[in-house]
Amino acid sequence: MPILKNIAAIAKGMSITLKEMFAPTVVENYPDGPGPLKGAKFQERFRGVHVLQRDENGLEKCVACFLCAAACPSNCIYIEAAENTAENRISGAERYAKVYNIDYNRCIFCGYCVEACPTDAITHGHGFELATFNASNLVYRKEQLLAPMPAHLGANAVFNKAEIDKGMPALTS
């Protein structure tokens, strides 16, 4: 009976559909989800846009050793080094990165730079929304990559809410 055969086939198919309808969702609801991340969820070790870290005094950790640039397989890190002076102290060591660019046209998010860094200055953050209509926007400068000042030293109280909650004084500049 061809008709019965067809009905059976439809019923079988619909039963799978109905079963899946009531199963819990496994995909993330990005970008329609709640919160600043719009529903995106990350593994802690997700490798996103880099963050150049600061030390507890707010000084940049990067000492412009160029090791990340040397390690980078896509050759997308450009650094110019300069010497710290008493008046203009940027990093904790003798030297700091005057210019630090990462070209996200080329970066493959391999993490070798993070691996290479002797001072844990460069890390992968979770930023991932890099799309742009202009490729030159993808060359990120140091200012775009730097972590904000720790809250007890000034800027960006929102970002450091956790620290303030722990009792750090929130200075606003």
Partner: protein, 789 residues
Amino acid sequence: MADAPKLVNLTVDGKAITAPAGTLLIDACKNAGIEIPSFCYYPGLSVQGACRMCLVKIEKMPKLQTSCTTVVGEGMVVTTENDEIHQARKSMLELVLANHPLDCPVCDAGGQCELQDMTFTYGAAESKFVDIKNHRDEQQWSPVVYFDRPRCILCYRCVRVCGEGMDVWALGIQQRGVSSVIAPNMEDHLECEECGMCIDICPVGALTSGAYRYKTRPWEMNHVATVCTHCGDGCVTTLGVRRSDTGMEIMRGDNRDKSGINGDFLCIKGRYAFDFSKEPERITVPLIRRNSKLEPATWEAAFELIASKLKEVRDRDGGQAIGVIGSNRTTNEENYLLQKFARLVLATNNIDHHRTADYPGFVSALAGTQNMTASMRDVASAPAILLIGNDPTEQHPLLAWQIRNNVRLNKARLYTVNSNQIKLRRQSTVFHLISAGSEGAFAQFLVGNDSAASSVGDPQALNSLRDKLRGEQGLVIAFGSEIRGEHIKPLVQFAQSVGAKLICLGDYANSRGAADMGLYPDLLPGYYPVSQLTGSKDEDWMGKAPKQPGLTLQEMFSAAAGGRLRALYVVGSNPVARYNLDPFALKNTFTVVQDMFLTETATLADVVLPAANAYEKGGTFTNTCGDLQRLQKAGDVTTVKSDFEIIVRIANAMGYDVHGLVPFAPGLRADMGQTRGAESGEADRHKVWLTRQGIEPKLSPFDPLALLDEIQRLVPGYEVSRLNLMAGNDQHTQVPDIGSGELPSHPELIVPSEDTLFTSGTLGRYSKTLNSVMENDRAVPEDAGIPAD
């Protein structure tokens, strides 16, 4: 010649090797291809035995022995690597690292540090000490020398190179044993020759260079070996370059790979004085005088104006109304091109340059002889050297280094005849102080004119000096510009009688090349007189050059003042300041100046063209001894052009077929079938290879190497091995044999540059580094009572 030393046989790591008796074990092993690690040992310096990295096991000797202090012995059985030795070296490293700050990420030596390499090799990365390291702040000892004490591993190389190598003795050791400290001669700062040898030789980053400090890292740069643009000695300097906003920036200069005649030697100028190329005052766009002010203009406008003016003057007043002044710092190809341009395109023999030595006189005196010039390498190995006039420590630092080290290492005898108490007297076997201006008379005295002695000095001492010199085999005679004109001939006669070789000292990087390439009003390239060109040269372009000798530099200026010189073309030269000429002479002369800076001459010009310096172009230089060497483009400023290109473009704008100036042609030399890969769409591998070897396919009229072919064909003495030249080796050129007759030499036109260790003509004026150290008075070693080595 002493007999060759006896050979001894020994066994190293099971391999039988032989070495001359007296060789250090570490050297013998190195020659046999067995590397022994070392810190304090350095070839050419005295033995120190401080670091104990070179430990080896020698059979029948108790304990491990330092191979840098042990001399090879017959039947020695040596092991250079086993567990015991490995462990010993590792422990030595741990001790060295005990107070080492391990700040490699910021240390300038990181990436080329011998301590880093050694620690990697022996895996001594762990510290067994828990004590806090002793920190000392970095000290600035001079504008170019910085010292970071905790990084020092006390190998004493710096102390030895400064004392033994440089004969400056500015560095010393304070305290003893593990608390030893390297210290500068002036307590907290250095007063020295600022050569930077100590920085270069330091195996770690304890001594760092003020010019390069904290700027970049070794692997971030391209390293280009080229020739120093300052004095006439022709040191190879390897420039580290990095991309910058305006092209390629030169970050540092050194010669750690010991390529070139200078080995690892460089004086302050070769090592630091490349900074003129990034001076803000440098001109980077063409300037044209409008309403009596120099204003920026385009290259096209400048070429058009120059071409129309030069053509107008040539066609109206003839070539004799145009003058050309060349440079001592442009390449051979540019000098050759410039005089060819003057003679063919401008139809004039009015071409000259700032003369610092009497090369035509030298060539005349050498007529009919063969192989009588010495190369810079000969100076380092000659058994005896006679130095007449000049002060090499100041004016020819490499020559002085070669002499000093030859005296120290090979016990060469140095005879110095000078009217000043020059520093090389410290190394002299005989130093003879003569009255000023009597160098020529001394030359006469050498060939037996005893009556000349009275004006020179004490006849008895002179006699004994002459006797000694007569007994010398393989003598090299170097003489300064004090000897010129008729005095060169007796010197050559004397040299002939004792079988000596000669060096005529000129002051600038390519003074010799400018002379060889015919920047003379009366001489063509290869010292052919313009008026009596004979033989086959006539068929070449030389036959088309005007036959009437032109005006000398000074005559050009008086002709300009008299209204007879209507146009003047100055390439990389500053005659107004150099000869103290009357600036108003050029009032009615259309003047074009090609330079890097607005010099006294350039400010008078109607058109100023920004030129590239010698670090920014390819070509060849001939040093003062006649050693031909290759220049490679290192730095780059994108808006300037090389003198070569500028000359070709002017000729082109004047409507001259540039094939007549530069023999370039597509398909001919460029592609003898090798480049077919490109046609089939592959990478043009042959072209890449040719370019890498510097044997560029000649497709461009701006390619100086296209002209090198012609130079090698037409200039006698320049037929050297092209392959060797391109591989970066120095090639000694012979002086052309002019047969009989005299060349016009004008000894009265020679004006020595009188540069010191810290000055270098116009370039020196615009070098911040040179200016920063010039205030330092140097300490004379005698004052401290230190004897010469």
